[in-house]
């Protein structure tokens, strides 16, 4: 009595990723005993081939990117990862080698970030590959970082560098000359979830989120929930050397950098007097942070200013998935 094809695929490529409570992926559901006195943090993201990743992207980076975008949501809440559930809808005839590389990428990141596969589903689709991942994390009660809570007068901070992902996408599409050392494309394919920084910012940041849809649009979410405005100094936005070189060559790329998305950096508000605590959190987590602006009185809006203080906000603040 042999296993049908679906279950053989799961046994070969996904069961090795399953951890405690996953029951070897052979049951109807997984079991998880959360440690007492912790709050569960739950997020889900979907990715479609041709929309959220390029079909020709290396398969080992595709699952990792989805996992990392979800890990970035946990980072934005100040949570620690525990496990995930994954559903994959794949075109019929997807080669086994693709699945093997896809799951090998997941295995590497599970080890790197300390979490396990708990369950999922594998189905076929007549359309493009469609992946969905639900992640579970833990945070001490009452200590989750939320998007709401910024106040006029707060300082605005961002981790790492902005724009690499959006520029890396353009490189992959052939719309930008290749970056010499592959930094931009690597950042597009494999974002770096800022888990240690998010955890260190618990009790320090007043509001936080991760930048996925573009710095300006995402800053708008913080403003909308806080009922205030924000001003960002274009010259303060932290750039990688590769992004700096691209911007120097074509100043019009500022819109791509500030509005393009796929950054997965943390964007957060802090009280002006918390600057030393913010810098200590960054030092403790080994992740650089940059003060890029401040929250202002007034209706929700985000204004990008040049060094002379002129409003250079692009007409569209970001992009929407639908």
């Amino acid at each position: 009595m042999s296993l049908p094809a679906e279950f053989a695929l799961i046994a070969r490529h996904f069961a090795p990723l399953a951890g405690e409570g996953a029951l070897g992926l052979t049951d109807d559901a997984a079991l998880l005993d959360p440690p007492p006195g912790r709050t569960l943090v739950l997020a889900a993201d979907a990715m479609v081939a041709g929309v959220h990743f390029l079909p020709e992207d290396p398969p080992d980076t595709i699952g990792r990117k989805l996992l990392r975008t979800n890990l970035s949501d946990l980072a934005a809440m100040g949570a620690e990862p525990v496990g995930y559930l994954l559903t994959v809808a794949l075109p019929r005839g997807t080669p086994e080698a693709w699945l093997a590389a896809f799951s090998a990428g997941l295995a590497a990141d599970q080890a790197a970030f300390g979490l396990r596969l708990l369950g999922g589903d594998t189905v076929s689709t007549p359309g493009p590959a469609c992946l969905s991942l639900t992640i579970l994390g833990l945070v001490p009660p009452g200590q989750a970082l939320l998007r709401r809570g910024a106040r006029a007068g707060d300082t605005l901070w961002v981790s790492g560098t902005i724009g690499d992902g959006a520029l890396g996408l353009r490189v992959g599409q052939g719309r930008l000359p290749a970056d010499p050392d592959g930094h931009l494309q690597r950042r597009y394919r494999l974002p770096e979830p800022r888990l240690a920084l998010g955890q260190a910012l618990r009790g320090v940041a007043r509001a936080a989120m991760d930048v996925s849809d573009g710095l300006l649009q995402d800053c708008g979410h913080l403003c909308r929930l806080a009922g205030c405005g924000a001003e960002i100094a274009a010259g303060a936005i932290p750039l990688s050397p590769a992004a700096r070189a691209a911007l120097d060559a074509d100043p019009a790329l500022l819109g791509t950098i500030a509005g393009g998305g796929d950054d997965y950096e943390l964007l957060f508000a802090a009280a002006p007097e918390a600057e030393a605590a913010v810098r200590a959190a960054a030092a403790a987590s080994g992740i650089p942070v940059t003060r890029i602006g401040r929250f202002t009185e007034g209706p929700p809006s985000v204004t990008l200013r040049d060094e002379a203080g002129r409003d250079i906000t692009p007409p569209t603040l970001g992009w929407s998935h639908v």
Copy 2:
């Protein structure tokens, strides 16, 4: 500062479904404080238009079907539902009326089954609609029903009736004359998760699962995990009047009934001496159960027998999604 289209859609159609801890779907993740001393039960299922549902199915039943197939996984574990996360990849230009009906169906079932939306993601796809749902439930520690645990000599039981879903799919495809009162199509579109029965079977059933891929194939899973065989009496398989009429008209439909799937009934093993306890659990939950066979010594296999004891097992035991 207006909301981008994606967020406006979420605010209009999904935020009203969001419950406690979902933070209005405006944050990076949801927060959930599980009650102390309970084990979390987690499952995820995906559905693709044209594969798992018919594109012309009423949109209010599509979300409900996905929710109910996941609730059926909780039922199979003896768990009570808590909440769910939902990702939807929709073709560009999906009408708002479709989304409104889709979410209205979910709202009705949330109320009926006592759970809430905790989070998710909405993206666009150039392909068919692709939906993924992760469900969370709770069970007392050590009391989850598992697929493993059947023993040779155990009795084999199933809830409700078998075959309606697979026949209902054929009706929808025009491959079977329409059922007069729509029972078969209704069962295909809206399975009935057997939550109360699953909970009542805690401590009674030795192994359990829900029938989604076909009675015979799914029974094979119980056998494989138990290292034993099973015999099913074809004449004992419980049928609705509509399925009975279809089978009487075309005896070859037995293969569809026993192998077709989409039943979402509970299939479970019990010790021979537990028959009274099984019947008491069925009576307490108001869900009929039928004894359809028994587990046997020997290697994993499932044998379907007619009333004369002849082996009438179809050559393929079920179907696989890949």
